[in-house]
């Protein structure tokens, strides 16, 4: 789950990381109220989960109430790369002497945590990594050992942060690592981490991605939910507990297992079709799950055919068959369904479906055959 900047800053603040005083505003009046409270000048920032806000006019400096009003009016409702701005973050503007970059993420090949620190912040770190990799001090952190203040001090020196920023930065990095680990972040990034002319270090932006697998031990994450899904199809799928990603094609996809679902997309593509979505119903999916999946797909007006690709393991094929029949009773499905059913209890499943087969409910013996049929029906 990606957090908005304001959510990320609150997450940081809880772990003792300094951020600018500010608050959210959903209306122009709220923006003005926040500005009056924190004091001018302020920065009015669009809250969207996409980069390039500044260039799109989503970040503006305001020196007085009129300017806050003007910018809030302009930014609320602004479309930034398909994301419509519904919320602002208004914070006290900071003078900047230097911009740094700091982040923690998982280093999958090395199976350790990876810290990245650079005296060259404020720009995309990918660009720095490409053009001048020596400007990034990489730190590999053994999860068993964690990050000590001693190591953080060595790290800020290696990254050549300005002398006056080093001790504050080292302490902040230890807190950021705590936020990253105790807070179960996939990514905790500050860009820029700034040094002010009066020698204070604090986080001017926040990019946080949370690991959904850890949500059971983070009841406080509930507050972050709600606005996450821009795509209404994804929102509906999420409510039904399905692992769904909306795409732009015409063949609706339902499969069990992420690998099989991806493979299904590939095969549809190979035989000349385009997938409308990725949908993994997971292991052990029963009739309810199957019905929910069909409902979500059915709600997508672009879908012209539905390809249900099941290889039973934990998932029992007869359950899947029941789910399909159940869904057909509950909802009027707009598109023909092509099924490929194999694995645990496949025979039982096929037998259950047999009496109901017609031009809108078709089975095929193999994955490839089913893909061809679904694509033919969609094109």
């Amino acid at each position: 789950m990606d957090l908005f900047e304001y959510q990320g800053k609150r997450y940081f603040a809880r772990h003792g990381i300094a951020v600018s005083p500010g608050d959210v505003a959903d209306t122009v009046d709220e923006a003005v109220a926040v500005a009056e409270r924190v004091g001018y000048p302020v920065v009015v920032k669009a809250q969207v989960k996409v980069g390039g806000r500044g260039k799109a006019g989503g970040v503006k400096l305001a020196n007085n109430v009129d300017e806050v009003r003007e910018h809030a009016v302009n930014i609320l409702g602004l479309d930034i790369k398909g994301h419509v701005v519904k919320r602002l973050w208004v914070e006290r503007s900071s003078d900047i002497a230097k911009e740094y970059y700091a982040s923690f993420t998982l280093d999958r090949p090395n199976k350790t945590h990876l810290g990245m620190l650079s005296a060259q912040g404020g720009v995309e770190i990918e660009v720095v990594a490409e053009e001048n990799p020596e400007a990034i001090a990489f730190l590999s952190i053994d999860p068993v050992e964690g990050l000590t203040l001693a190591t953080a001090r060595r790290w800020v020196a290696e990254a050549e942060l300005d002398d006056v920023a080093r001790e504050q930065s080292a302490e902040l990095l230890v807190k950021l690592y705590e936020c990253y680990t105790q807070g179960d972040c996939d990514l905790a990034e500050i860009n820029p981490l700034i040094l002010t002319p009066d020698n204070k270090v604090h986080a001017l932006d926040a990019k946080v991605t949370l690991d959904e697998n850890a949500s059971y031990r983070h009841p406080e994450w509930e507050e972050f939910r709600g606005d996450e899904f821009e795509d209404p199809r994804e929102k509906m799928a999420k409510e039904k507990g399905l692992n769904y990603i909306g795409l732009d094609g015409t063949v609706g996809i339902i499969a069990n297992g992420a690998g099989l679902a991806m493979s299904t997309l590939d095969v549809v593509n190979q035989v000349g079709g385009t997938a409308a979505n990725f949908l993994d119903i997971g292991g052990g999916a029963n009739a309810d799950v199957m019905a929910a999946a069909l409902e979500v797909i059915n709600a997508d007006p672009k879908v012209k055919s539905i390809f249900v690709n099941i290889f039973g393991g934990i998932t029992r094929v007869d359950e899947v068959a029941k789910g399909v029949l159940e869904a057909l009773k509950r909802v009027s499905i707009n598109s023909p369904i092509v099924l490929r059913l194999d694995g645990t209890n496949a025979l039982e499943g096929r037998a259950l479906l047999a009496p109901h087969l017609n031009e809108n409910l078709i089975t095929e013996p193999t994955m490839l055959d089913a893909a061809r049929r679904a694509v033919a029906l969609a094109n």
């Binding site: 999958r108 990603i245 095969v267 990725f278």
Partner: protein
């Protein structure tokens, strides 16, 4: 022969008294696996369909001589269960649990490597391992596997593992061992570990490898194959069509830039002399062709 497990492997099931543990544990036993015990704290002394239950792994190992463990407990208990298994003397741990937080996985992996160097973890979030006719630890349906070799299978994806078994078995081509390594961010066992074992196993004549987008395990495997592998390898990599930058399910398959894309992986494997196929069916057909020509 088989890799990692064989007909003599004694297995305990951590979580045997739970509904999933009971279902899969008994199914594994029915397949012929030597399931010699279960572990559930506080339920020591009871049994599940004749399989004795112990309070701790240590007790179970002492009483049964088990060397392998099947961890089938909820995510919040999985890390502790894995460490307990290692501490109790288990040397091969299969964890099928899905949904373990990434930080727990990273911590558990490193604790195992650092404190228990002789212990191998398979998974988490994997279908397990099956040596057809000998041993099945995990959730793979035994009836889609065929004993007698000569193919070894290693796969990052659960359902595609079954698909691979199915493609081969339908054509009468058996498997020495099929290892599902799982697609989680920090797998205990990776492609190279399995490829090295298959290379050493005299009964394995060819290897099928199923990869996925994300990470760089396939690229690393390709490099290893180029330098070390003498047996033919057939590979399929899922996710050619996946849009960049999206997370496709629990596989943790995040694409960033060109690195980690299915195409990059396929290119690396092709350059290493691997037969790279466009879908699981094609991969199955290619493997059948290779085996029949032997």
């Amino acid at each position: 022969m088989s890799i990692f497990v064989d007909e003599n492997t004694k297995v305990i099931v951590q979580g045997l008294t739970g509904s999933q543990g009971r279902f899969h544990g008994l199914r594994n036993r029915d397949y012929g696996t030597k399931v010699v015990g279960g572990v559930t704290p506080g339920k020591g002394g009871s049994d599940v369909d004749g399989i004795p239950v112990f309070n701790s792994v240590k007790e179970a190992v002492d009483a049964t001589g088990a060397t392998a463990s099947f961890v089938v407990v909820p995510p919040k208990f999985a890390s502790d269960a894995i460490i307990e298994a290692a501490q109790g003397g288990i040397t091969f741990i299969v964890c099928i649990t899905e949904g373990i937080p990434a930080h727990d996985e990273a911590l558990t992996y490193n604790r195992l490597v650092e404190e228990f160097p002789g212990v191998r973890l398979l998974g988490p979030n994997c279908p397990g391992i099956i040596s057809p006719g000998k041993c099945n630890i995990g959730i793979t349906s035994g009836d889609i596997a065929l004993a007698g070799g000569p193919v070894g299978i290693v796969s990052r994806s659960g359902t595609l593992t079954y698909q691979a078994l199915h493609e081969l078995s339908m054509q009468g081509i058996g498997q020495t061992t099929c290892v599902g390594i799982g697609g989680d961010p920090v797998p205990g066992t990776n492609f190279i570990d399995c490829l090295a074992e298959f290379e050493k196993d005299p009964e394995t004549k060819a290897v099928m490898m199923i990869g996925e987008i994300g990470g760089s395990e396939e690229e690393r495997a390709a490099e290893w194959i180029k330098l070390n592998m003498t047996k033919p390898v057939v590979a399929y990599v899922a996710g050619v069509t996946a849009p960049p930058g999206r997370k496709m399910g629990h596989a943790g398959a995040i694409i960033s830039g060109s690195k980690g894309t299915a195409q990059a992986k396929m290119d690396a494997l092709t350059a290493a002399g691997v037969y790279v196929c466009q879908n699981p069916t094609e991969a199955g057909a290619k493997m059948v062709e290779i085996v029949r020509a032997m």
